[in-house]
C-alpha cells in the first residue's frame, strides 16, 4: 500500500499563554511539536504498511522548520517525506490549506490511503482532513478509532467511526482518506536506525510554483475566512473555596447549587 500521512507542526499549546496585562500571546521558547493526533495517524499508517507491505510518506505544509517534524516521523519508520513551503502559503485558512495540500498530493503520486489526525491542537477545527478529501475527490471517513479490516483485492477498508453515541462501522472504497482518533493505537517508539536515517534524508521542498498552485487559492489571499479581531477570553470561575469537614463542605455546596433553578431541581431537597 502507498500511504500518505499529512501532518502539522504546532506550538505546544500547553506553553502558549495569554499575558493578561498586554492581551497578547507569550510565545517565546514555545517548542514546535508534531501535532499529537498526527502521531496516531502515523502509527495507523505504519501498522498498515507492516501488515500489508508498501511505503509510508509524510507531508506537511509549513515554514522551513516544519522539516524537523517530518524528520521526527522518519525516525519512527516513515519511509519518505516532502515539505510544502512557500511564503505565499502563509496565513492560509482550512480551505486554502487543503487546496495546497491537495496539489502536493497530486505532485507526489498516487496513494491508496491518506491518513490525517482528527484535528490540530492549535486550530482545533478538524476541517482539513475532510476538505482535503473533497479537493482530491476522494471518499473519506473521519474520527476512525479502528481499522477493522483491509481487503486489498477488492480495494476496500472497513473502519469504525467514533460518534457521540457509539460508533458506526463503515465500508469505504480505496483510494480514500481517513482521519483518526487516539483509540487507533498508541504510537511506537522511534528507532536509532530510523533517527540516523532521518538525519541524512533528503526532504524535497515544494514551492507554490513547483506545485503549479493558483495564487488566488493559496495563503491569506486564497482564504475565504479572515480574522477580524482577537481578544482575551473572559476569565472564568468564581473560585469560591468551600472549607470544613466533608459534611459541612457538601452542605455549603448544595446551598450554592440550589441558587440555580435547573440545578435545584436536580438536587431536590438534599
Amino acid at each position: 500500500m502507498e500511504i500518505l500521512v499529512c501532518i502539522k507542526q504546532v506550538p505546544d499549546t500547553r506553553d502558549v499563554k495569554l499575558d493578561p496585562a498586554t492581551n497578547t500571546l507569550r510565545r517565546e521558547g514555545v517548542a514546535g511539536i508534531v501535532n499529537p493526533f498526527d502521531l496516531y495517524a502515523m502509527e495507523a499508517a505504519l501498522r498498515l504498511r507492516d501488515a500489508h507491505g508498501g511505503r509510508v510518506f509524510a507531508m506537511t505544509m509549513g515554514p522551513p522548520q516544519a522539516a524537523e517534524a517530518l524528520r521526527e516521523l522518519v525516525g519512527y519508520g516513515v519511509d519518505e517525506a516532502a515539505l510544502l513551503s512557500d511564503r505565499a502559503f502563509a496565513g492560509a485558512d482550512t480551505w486554502a490549506t487543503s487546496y495546497t495540500l491537495a496539489r502536493g498530493v497530486e505532485k507526489l503520486g498516487r496513494f491508496d490511503l491518506i491518513v490525517c489526525g482528527k484535528q490540530a491542537i492549535d486550530g482545533d477545527t478538524a476541517q482539513v482532513g475532510p476538505e482535503l478529501a473533497e479537493q482530491l475527490g476522494l471518499p473519506y471517513v473521519a474520527f476512525v478509532r479502528r481499522i477493522a479490516s483491509h481487503d486489498p483485492a477488492a480495494g476496500l477498508l472497513i473502519v469504525e467511526r467514533l460518534m457521540d453515541d457509539g460508533y458506526d462501522v463503515v465500508e469505504i472504497k480505496l483510494p480514500a482518506l481517513i482521519t483518526v482518533v487516539k483509540e487507533i493505537g498508541e504510537p511506537r517508539v522511534p528507532s536509532l536506525k530510523g533517527k540516523m536515517r532521518a538525519r541524512k534524508l533528503d526532504i524535497p521542498v515544494l514551492t507554490a510554483e513547483g506545485l503549479g498552485a493558483d495564487p488566488d487559492k493559496i495563503g491569506l489571499n486564497g482564504s475565504p475566512t479572515r480574522v477580524l479581531e482577537v481578544f482575551a477570553p473572559k476569565p472564568r470561575g468564581r473560585r469560591v473555596r468551600i472549607e470544613g469537614k466533608p459534611r459541612d463542605q457538601v452542605t455549603q455546596l448544595l446551598e450554592h447549587l440550589k441558587k440555580d433553578k435547573t440545578l435545584a431541581a436536580k438536587v431536590g431537597a438534599a
Binding site: 495569554l18 498586554t22 471518499p139 457521540d164 463503515v170 487516539k182 482577537v230 466533608p246
Partner: protein
Amino acid sequence: MSLKVNPELCTACEACAAACPFGAIEVVDGLARVNEKCNLCGACLEVCPVEALSIERQEAGPVADGHEGVWVFAEQRHGRLAPVAFELLGQGRVLAEKLGTRLSAILFGWGVRNLAADLFAAGADRVFLADDPRLAGFTDDLYGGLLTRLAIEHRPEIVLGGATAMGRSFIPKVASALHTGLTADCTGLDIRASDRLLLQTRPAFGGNIMATIVCPSRRPQMATVRPRVMRRGPVEAGRAGELVEVSLAGVEWMDRTRLVEFVEDLSEKVNLVEAEVIVCGGRGLGGGRHFGLLRELADLLGGSVGASRGAVDAGWISYAHQIGQTGKTISPKLYIACGVSGAVQHLVGMQSSEVIVAVNKDPHAPIFDVADFGLVGDLFEIVPELIGRLKAARG
C-alpha cells in the same frame, strides 16, 4: 490587502511586535516589519502609540448577488432530532430577524417526515426534507453531496450546523465543495448591520485567546456550533411553514462508502456532548473500580461520567469518556471534577461548563483556578457524603 507601516511615524517602540499573537512583526533597523504570518487581525493597530500602522482592506459591500436566507442543518440520528438543532434554530431565528430574511431547516433521513413539525414549531419558516431510504444512515458522501447541491441551487447566505461528530464530519466537505469559509466550534454568532456580515467568534490556541472570524466574499458563510452553547428559542406548537421535498437526483458518489452498522455505546444514557451534568474522574481516583462511585453520583444527578486523559491512559475507563484537548469538548450545566488536577489540555475540553465544581486533596491543583466552587479534601469522603445527601432527599 495588507498591513502597512508608516516609516515616518514608526518609533520602533516594539509595542506592535509584542501585541501580535502570531509573531508576524519584527522590529529591524529601527522599523517595524511585517512578515507573511500576518493575517490582518488588527491587534497591533490598537496598541501603536503613534498610529503608524494601517490596514488596507477591500471593502466587502453588501452582498448583491442574491444569496439570502439562514439555514440550519437539523441533525437527526436514529429518528431523533439532536438537541443542538433546536439550539441552532434559536440562534438562527435571531440572525434571520436581524437580516430580515427567512430561517430554513434542512432535514435528511428515512422515515423522519414527522420531525418537520418540530422544526416549524421551533421557528423554521421552511423545511427542506429529503426522506429517502438511502439517507437512513449517515454517510458523508450523501449528506454532504445533497447539502452542497441544495446550497448551490437555493443560495443561502448563512448555513449553520451542530459541531457534533456528524456535523464535524460532513460540513467541511460542503464548505470545500462550495469554495467557502467554515468556522468551527463557534461560541458566538452575530450580524454586523453595516454589511450583513456574520461575525463568528471562537476560541483559538487551546482556548488561550478568542478570535472573531468573517467570510467577507464567499457565500454561504458557514459555521458549526457545539451542543449546549446556544440557547433554544421559544416553541410554538402547531406553527406552520413551507415544506420543500428534496430528492437525491444529481448527487454524485452514491456508493463509495457504505454504513454497515451502528454499535451503540451503552455505558452512558446521555452522550457526553449533550449531557447536562458530567461527573469527571482523574488520576486522583487511584483506580478504575472507583469510577463506580462517580457513576452513582452521575446517575443521581441524571448525568454522564467523563474522565481525564490520565485516567484513560491508565486504562481505568474507555477513550469515549475522555474530556480534553485530545478527547471530547463538553459544556454541561454542571461539571464536577473529582481527583482531576486540571492540566491545561483538560481545561480546554471543559472550561465552557456553566458551573464547575472541583474536588481535590491538593490545594494547589490548577483546576481550582477555573472552578466556581472548590472543595479541598478527600474525594472518597466528599463524594459519598454528597451521594448520601442526594439519596436521602429522594426518600
